[in-house]
Symmetry: C2
Subunit: 331 residues, 2 copies
């Protein structure tokens, strides 16, 4: 892809994010009671990359539809994503999100629980607005995405106290917690465009594998990123004792004292921030950074290959640009 | 209605509850992870009157459909109702429900939040199974029911700290928190049967007003019921300082020392259990018990009148029986 093309797609992305932001700013403004809608508005106007709604728009266009008929559905998937953030932050006892107080810190536990619940409902309401065809399929995809994200979050919580987590179990967890929602975004886009089953299947494969790549990249960034750029503590996963792909792979590769060091993280449910560089060096020594990069690239390749069956359009090119941007991102 | 007829409808209700119980017992048995599905199974197999699913079945049949094509939708509304119980119990810090520990007490806060979220998703999944026609209308009704119950719960929470609550505000709250879901059950039943708009409208009016009557009756039972039969503390609403219809009406009617006594409840956010009989006598003296009964009967009359446009069938008679049973119930 030429630099000019990349600049063009970057421009389209920014334009669409602006349109989406305007929709989020206008959403729910006249709703009552304030105790319910203020926390909802607070989270949905707190920014973020808006990748999931953009995937709906691009998938729909790549499948023969257009942006205009997919904006409500795009808003819906972002609302659903924001619901997961609100409830996950409660469960993870997180104080900050996107540089601001989390919803339960700012508004209290009960309003945060209810706001999350309501975001799910408002998501369905918005999705329904764009259901001119394939209503059952769209609703089913969306609902499956919601179920999988609940299952994924449960597995993730289980892993905190589970001593032995296999790589396969980890992959199933991120598939459900992260990738299933990206898969759903692409499927919904396809159904909105009334695409045939072959195209839908391709879009789903693209979304699922891109979601997997995205999560592996997230784990990589956590340990490798530039703290100033990344916007959160580097090595946070190690500090919290999270069993990421990199960590589990390191455990698999390590022997002797190296293995003991890694088992310390499990035993103590995390490490002190000062020890992050030492563990980073261990990861590099064990070759798990390269291993994770390679796995991420494999997922990305499968994702891109799936797009072969789609007609060659600007929207398809745009999806390819998005996939490549995501695995090269620095935050 | 003759005693023989009443016995017959009572028998049909029991039969259908048994069928529903069997469905709830079989639901989710093979799902994983256990950390997510065990709390879900725990709440959905904990009994209850199963009134909402029964309303779906009866409404559908009264609108020309049949039970068989409405069971999944019936299960869906009960799942949605159970979601509200799980999250409301967290917010109300309730320890017991139906004689057992509440979900968050038994499984912990995080699993309870997630189980509630998942119940919503599983509800949609089950609802979709019965969407052969009118999918958008059914999904829209269901989603509106979910939004209203979130709004209603928010108003209810607001009222706890709001000094002045008007009767109209209270009515809006119970309409959203309780009646909207009953209205939705009846609407969904109608749509499943592919009824025309006139029938749907009648079923919605029936459900909404029956729901209002049901909630007023609930408030009445709280202060009047036989403790052994009722299964929970009589006067619990006063103990917790809840601003029920009866309480707000008493506040409106009372003067002098009576008014002071009532304002004490607001000021102290509840009373000691030993003072319940004194307040009950005050309610009786002020005539608010009679007033509430009269309001409940008004709602019930509107509900029953709405059924006039439905063809005279056994299912319609059964709906009438159910409405009358609900406002005469002792628990």
């Amino acid at each position: 892809m030429t630099t000019a093309q990349m600049d063009k797609y970057s421009e389209i992305y920014k334009e669409q994010v602006d349109i989406l932001e305007e929709r989020f700013n206008k959403l729910l403004v006249n709703e009552e009671p304030a105790s319910l809608y203020d926390p909802c508005k607070y989270i949905i106007t707190s920014g973020g990359k808006r990748l999931r709604p953009y995937m709906v728009l691009l998938s729909s266009k790549a499948a023969g539809g257009n942006f205009e008929d997919a904006y409500n559905a795009a808003v819906a998937v972002e609302l659903l994503h924001n619901f997961t953030l609100v409830h996950d932050d409660i469960m993870d006892k997180a104080d900050k999100r996107r540089g601001r107080e989390t919803v339960h810190i700012k508004f209290g536990l009960n309003p945060a629980i209810l706001a999350g619940d309501n975001l799910v409902a408002v998501a369905y309401r918005n999705l329904l607005k764009d259901c001119r065809i394939n209503t059952a399929e769209i609703m089913d995809s969306f609902t499956t995405g919601l179920i999988e994200v609940c299952e994924g979050q449960s597995y993730d919580t289980d892993f905190e106290t589970q001593e032995n987590v296999t790589i396969d179990q980890y992959k199933l967890m991120i598939q459900k917690k992260t990738a299933a929602m990206v898969e759903m975004c692409c499927a919904v886009g396809g159904y909105l465009a009334n695409a045939d089953e072959k195209i839908i299947k391709a879009l789903k494969t693209f979304g699922l594998n891109l979601g997997m790549a995205f999560q592996i990249q997230d784990d990589l960034l956590d340990i490798l990123a530039d703290e100033a750029k990344f916007g959160k503590v580097v090595g946070g996963d190690l500090v919290e004792g999270k069993k990421t792909y990199i960590f589990l792979k390191a455990l698999e590769f390590a022997e002797g004292d190296d293995k003991k060091l890694l088992l310390e993280v499990v035993k103590n449910k995390g490490i002190d921030k000062s020890m992050v560089p030492m563990y980073r060096n261990l990861y590099i020594k064990l070759g798990v950074i390269e291993d994770a990069r390679s796995l991420m690239n494999d997922y990305n390749d499968i994702a891109l290959k799936a797009l072969d069956v789609l007609p060659d359009t600007e929207a398809k090119e745009n999806l390819i640009w998005l996939a490549n941007m995501l695995i090269k991102r620095s935050k």
